[in-house]
Amino acid sequence: MSLPNSVLRRYTPPTCTLEIAAKGSPLSRWAGRPVLKQLRFQLSFDDPRLPPEEQVQITGDRTQLEALCEAVERYVQTVVGNAPTPGQAVPLLVESFDQLESLPDGASGRAENGIAVTYPANEYANENPVNESYGDENYADGNSTGVAGIHLKPKGLLSHDLCLGELSTGESTVVRLSALQLFDLANALDEYSAEAIALPTLNRPTWFNATPAWAKVAAVLVLAVGVSTAIVRFVDPYAGQPAITAANEDTSETATTEGIFNEDPQNTALEPLPSGKDASPPNSQPLDIPLPPSAETLPSPGTGLPSVGVPRTPTPNAPVPSAPRTPTNLPDVAIAPSQQRSDAPGAGSNPSQLQTPAESEAAGAPPNAARSSGQSDTLPSLSAPLSQEGGDRPDPTSTAFDTIPQVAEARTFFQERWQPPESLEQTLEYRLQLGADGTIQRIIPLGRAAGDYIDRTGMPLPGEPFVSPIETGGSPQIRIVLDPNGRVQTFLESP
């Protein structure tokens, strides 16, 4: 089928070409602008693997194009709506199913212990067997065929069959699409839909297309209205916007210079174009999948503490880890002159140079733990200058008896959980502000590495049980130092 000569739009993602075209109408002369009818589209799948004679090319009218848009969009939504689980065993390509057994992602990967991602995979498999659903036509769009018989079927994770229905050409009724081809096709159709929405011609009243005679009369009317509204446009800057009246829409068509989409007379039942967009959800039978028990029974201590735990805005006392940072491997102790020492971004990234073990142990340990200060193997020479910095350091003259038992509890807490990742080379340091109930109120990672590795530390979330309640009340602040070698240090910063 040959395309009309005037191509309006061409969408060219890497693997397909979608052209929208229409015939010029004699009405163009009367209307003084292009009036187009018989909108047609041509879709070429550009597959470099195929010889030119096997390249698939389909053409159709606007109704069919809309059906294609809808079918593809719904199908794509179904594809991504299929929740990934480790136990899901959909082969990449159905043809190579057997061979894929040998692939790591082959059909052997069925979860047997229910260690699914979001829900037990075996239950998922029982209720909706994966391979079955992927081979099922109904999987695609809830109906075996969409409008005009156009629909898609999955053939594994990476390939999809586009069944052309009415669009079938002599030799091809099904087009096999790779994931990339499907992606590109969906994008092209989506772009078309988005533009078609923007074109105000598509909501024109059906009478306009009833008969050619009507159309001619209408063209005269359009001309008359167009002239008058063109004048109106000088007065009313909004006259050119769509969705006011039919007459004004025509005016706006002039403004868009895109011409009028004069629909093929037999397609009288016109609807707004965005059919691909307003498709009802593709998965008409949403998977009703229970969550793992752990998810359902999870305590949610954080709910009552909406924002306490997180410093939202930078303040002098709440260093934000993403602040401009100094290199993480500081050769020297970085001390921001006008800040609390530990607030200097990056300073915390090498905290073993920042503190003297004797001091931190003495400050952080309960009385019976103070003796462990013997492990002073890190830069003791720095203690003198550091202690002069003051800031939020505990008073060097304070004794071990000044500390609170929560410091030791915190150390025990992290000693049980801290397993340094292999990739970690730096010390991680955090400042924790405790609530009177012993939970963490606020976590401040000191330095970039501390922020990056926070999810490996075993750090409790704000509001979670952490240490025993503070008998004396108040909200003490403690420092946690986690070494790459597995050592955990804690000490009190402020009572």
Partner: protein, 204 residues
């Protein structure tokens, strides 16, 4: 390449899409687990760290929801799959923010995602293992390591299962990298959790 800039119109439509949705706690758990996995896949493929995620949040004017590493970590830690006890409840606005961030990042790295999927297609056609391509091999290794390190069931999940999960996420990422990716991801999340989409979605 399509622009990532959202028009005011589509933003408004997005607002409508998310408004009026009240997932129950179990559904939210599901959503946050899925979102965490999408971000994990992005991390594994493109080396996207918390820094880039925070920057994206700022670009998208979501800094009030995702202000710093701690808040980002808390959001992601809210996945029920993660190690550790106790979960912060992810609210719908936070979920929405993570959707926008993930899809923005996917769009930024669309070329890379596309290349990875293209390689996967080639290898699958030749019945070769995905690991044979360096890009895919690195991705699969990174993903598996991160999953095993951070997830509660990480140690018990078979390598085959992790590989399959990673590849499925990779293909999904491709579709999320489209200009309408955030809508797709959002609809997918609702779909998977059985939440009826908002009726006004047709406006998108």
């Amino acid at each position: 390449m399509p622009s990532t800039v959202k028009s005011p119109r589509s933003n408004a439509a997005w607002e409508e899409l998310t408004s009026g949705i009240q997932p129950d706690p179990a559904q939210l758990d599901n959503i946050k687990a899925q979102l965490d996995l999408v971000l994990l896949a992005l991390e594994a493929l493109a080396g996207i760290g918390s820094e880039a995620m925070l920057r994206t949040a700022a670009e998208l004017n979501l800094a009030d929801v995702v202000a710093d590493r701690v808040s980002l970590w808390r959001l992601r830690q809210s996945s029920p799959l993660r190690k550790g006890q106790g979960r912060k409840r992810l609210d719908i606005e936070e979920a929405r923010s993570l959707v926008l961030i993930a899809c923005h990042l996917a769009n930024q790295h669309q070329e890379l995602i596309r290349r990875a999927v293209g390689l996967l297609e080639q290898l699958a056609e030749q019945n070769r293992e995905p690991h044979q391509a360096a890009l895919l091999g690195d991705y699969l290794d990174n993903f598996s390591n991160a999953y095993q390190e951070r997830m509660e069931d990480g140690e018990n999940t078979l390598p085959d299962q992790l590989t399959h999960l990673a590849l499925k996420l990779l293909i999904d990422l491709l579709f999320y990298s489209a200009p309408n990716g955030s809508r797709r991801l959002w609809m997918a999340l609702l779909d998977r959790t059985g939440i009826a989409p908002h009726p006004s979605e047709s406006d998108l």
